[in-house]
């Protein structure tokens, strides 16, 4: 077999069959995918499910701390988790560019497999297409996910009250910084590492406190600033956070300093932002900090009466508005 993806791999003939058997069924064929039915048949325990979809496009495909494969699993798993669901099943749609090295595809699929196992989700259906060289950037992935709602969560911004606490589970901006530094070829020692990882255990670890949890989000595109602004838009309350309580990794910080990036605008892919009643904040932090993905968890701020405003108390005690980023992150001139 050739060592790159060929147009024939998507043609439905022998090459396609080979690719599916060797690369997909070999990895994901234990469950419903085994006989390659047109649709997966799934048995539900609960009557409330969460359903989500996301497409993954990243350049480069592999970056410090992960690749597009684990990203595609974590992204969808995390969307389910922050909706208060236990992730169960995933679909996997692949769009491959003609000429993509098979070795790359294998590494990515290995990551999908590993990440799915780690998140206790099964890949139960999928699809593969091949497009001409130049029509896509190596490899795109779409995953859809189904999760079962965890009883007790009633997430709604309408339940937010003055003095409620905002918690984050780990350092901010690591994923965006890692991808940026890989894309631009910065050779940094101890540079940023993507935090691509699941947050479902963080959610499950606080399920018994669900009644006092108002809202959860993972700060992906647009970073923490975007999530906080979504939480306050059009509301009668605002949010105040403190710069000195925000967790950042040293490598990510170094890159941000170098490029003048505002890390509040940079994506994480394994971080959880949670808004809860003050009475449960300490308990949640303690549970999170006992998990490897939550060791750096912090309380970063509170709900205020400044309607619709997100205010940052800066490192020197000044204050400023935290706005959403506009457009792409662009390096400055000097």
């Amino acid at each position: 077999m050739n060592d790159c993806v060929l147009l024939g791999h998507g043609g439905g003939g022998r090459l396609s069959h080979q690719l599916i058997e060797q690369e997909i069924v070999a990895r994901f064929g234990q469950g419903p995918l085994q006989t390659l039915p047109d649709a997966a048949t799934l048995e539900l325990d609960s009557r409330r499910i969460c359903f989500t979809t996301d497409s993954f496009v990243v350049h480069p495909l592999e970056f410090p701390g992960g690749n597009i494969g684990d990203l595609a699993v974590h992204g969808t798993v995390n969307d389910l988790a922050v909706s208060g669901a236990r992730p169960r099943w995933l679909s996997l749609g692949l769009i491959l560019e003609e000429g993509l090295p098979l070795a790359t595809l294998r590494r990515v699929l290995d990551s999908v497999q590993r990440a799915a196992e780690q998140c206790e989700v099964a890949v139960v259906t999928g699809d593969t297409k091949v497009v001409r060289r130049g029509q896509c950037d190596g490899l795109y992935i779409n995953t859809s996910g189904i999760g079962e709602a965890i009883p007790g969560f009633a997430l709604s911004l309408s339940r937010v009250g003055l003095g409620d606490c905002i918690l984050v589970s780990g350092p901010l901006g690591d994923h965006g910084a890692a991808v940026l530094s890989a894309r631009e070829g910065f050779q940094m020692q101890n540079g940023p590492l993507s935090d691509s990882r699941p947050v479902h255990r963080l959610v499950q670890s606080v399920a018994d406190l669900a009644a006092d949890i108002r809202f959860m989000r993972d700060p992906t595109r647009g970073g923490l600033a975007t999530v906080l602004n979504e939480m306050t838009a059009g509301q009668s309350y605002g949010i105040r956070i403190r710069a000195r309580d925000l967790p950042f990794s040293p490598g990510t910080n170094a890159l941000a300093e170098m490029l003048g990036l505002d890390l509040l605008h940079v994506a994480s892919e394994g971080c959880l932002v949670l808004l809860c009643a003050e009475s449960v904040a300490a308990a949640i932090l303690a549970r999170w900090q006992a998990l490897p993905e939550g060791v750096d968890a912090r309380a970063i701020g509170r709900v205020t009466d400044q309607a619709g405003r997100v205010i940052l108390e800066t490192a020197i005690g000044g204050q400023r508005v935290v706005d959403v980023p506009s457009g792409e992150l662009l390096p400055r001139i000097c």
């Binding site: 000195r244 400023r320 400055r332």
Partner: protein, 369 residues
């Protein structure tokens, strides 16, 4: 743990400055004075907004933003010329800030979406790499900037010449900070009592470059770094000079900034570049405020090489960038601010560049938090 300690130290130092500045404000008020301090450079504008430094200033001290954002002062005709070159199939290599600056009709971002090849660079050296990877075409580097940026761009050109690479050219719009400051200070309509001078530009031109402002015009000058505490210290120093009626050049960044500047960088710049009149968006043409390639290096000049004639370009007549750049109005006083003009759809360059006064105020202050 170290983060927390570091954090508290900063807070301690900052609250010390808050007290000092408040006391200085009281003394100014007693003397019936109010002072205007101008931060010359966009990086200072950014840091001031980002760290909420206006919060620390008493009513008697106002901060105005100067012309120190190279993107903001770039003429729309320059953008038009770059778009023309992109249309001819050249690869345009640029710092990201330039992408969304409105030209007369469109921006480079729109030119890119329409199929033009526009590459965002973090360093001028990327242009060399692009040129190597694309021998079939030419890379035009958008050489925009003040002294800080000019030095590395000229070093890149030096490497291009040494390595005999012939598919790189520069579209220059270099600007020099001192002539623009002179023009602002000489303008009777503008009150500037003190200048917060940028450490990085000063590292190249030297702290002595500001002496005429102190000596001839009585303007206090402090060369300050970009950390928030550096800025607070600088503002306190400027105010003190004015309280004591003893304006001079105080170099608070002596570790990096020499009185005479970086001679090596100056020599390299002199070797390749000549002063020329330059047009500043909003300020008009200022004599000898630009730098252009010397005639013997004209073949690296995109304008010369491709025979394009940059025209002044059309500015949105309602944009008040000129007044903002001169420090005559705060961005929020522009009727378009936040209404017709915001970072997603900037009308003027001050809203585009992350260092622009309008963008900084929109992003971080929005009329004061």
């Amino acid at each position: 743990m170290t983060r927390y300690i570091e954090g508290f130290r900063k807070m301690d130092a900052a609250s010390h400055f808050r007290t000092t500045l408040a006391e200085q404000g009281r003394q100014l008020a007693e003397q019936g004075r109010s002072i205007h301090l101008m931060e010359v450079c966009g990086s200072h504008t950014m840091a001031i907004a980002r760290f909420g430094i206006r919060d620390f200033l008493p009513a008697a001290i106002s901060l105005v933003s100067g012309p120190g954002c190279p993107v903001c002062v770039t003429d729309p005709g320059y953008i038009d010329a770059a778009i023309t070159l992109a249309g001819q199939g050249k690869i345009i290599a640029t710092f990201g800030d330039m992408l969304r600056v409105p030209g007369s009709r469109t921006s480079l971002a729109e030119a890119r979406a329409a199929g033009g090849r526009v590459e965002v660079c973090y360093s001028p050296l990327t242009a060399i790499e692009l040129a190597r990877n694309h021998p079939e075409t030419e890379v035009v580097f958008l050489a925009v900037g003040f002294e800080t940026t000019i030095a590395p761009v000229v070093a890149m050109l030096d490497a291009v010449i040494r390595q005999a690479i012939d598919n790189v050219s520069l579209l220059t719009a270099f600007k020099r900070v001192p002539p623009a400051l002179s023009a602002l200070i000489a303008d009777p309509e503008i009150q500037i009592d003190g200048l917060l001078c940028p450490a990085h530009v000063s590292a190249i031109i030297g702290a002595d470059a500001y002496r005429p402002y102190a000596e001839q015009y009585g303007v206090a000058c402090v060369v300050a770094g970009f950390e928030p505490l550096d800025i607070l210290y600088g503002l306190q120093g400027l105010t003190q000079q004015l309280l004591e009626n003893r304006p001079h050049v105080d170099n608070q960044y002596g570790r990096v900034v020499k009185a005479e500047g970086n001679r090596q960088a100056q020599r390299l710049m002199e070797h390749y570049l000549l002063p020329a009149d330059a047009s500043w968006r909003g300020l008009g043409t200022i004599p000898a405020s630009g730098l252009v390639l010397r005639p013997e290096f004209a073949r690296f000049d995109a304008v010369h090489r491709h025979g394009i004639l940059p025209t002044p370009g059309r500015i949105n007549p309602r944009c008040q960038c000129g007044e903002v750049l001169k420090g005559k109005i705060r961005p929020a006083q522009c009727p378009l601010f936040g209404v017709a003009c915001h970072p997603d759809k900037p009308l003027g360059p001050c809203m585009v560049s992350s260092e622009g006064s309008c963008a900084a105020d929109f992003k971080y202050a929005r009329g004061g938090a």
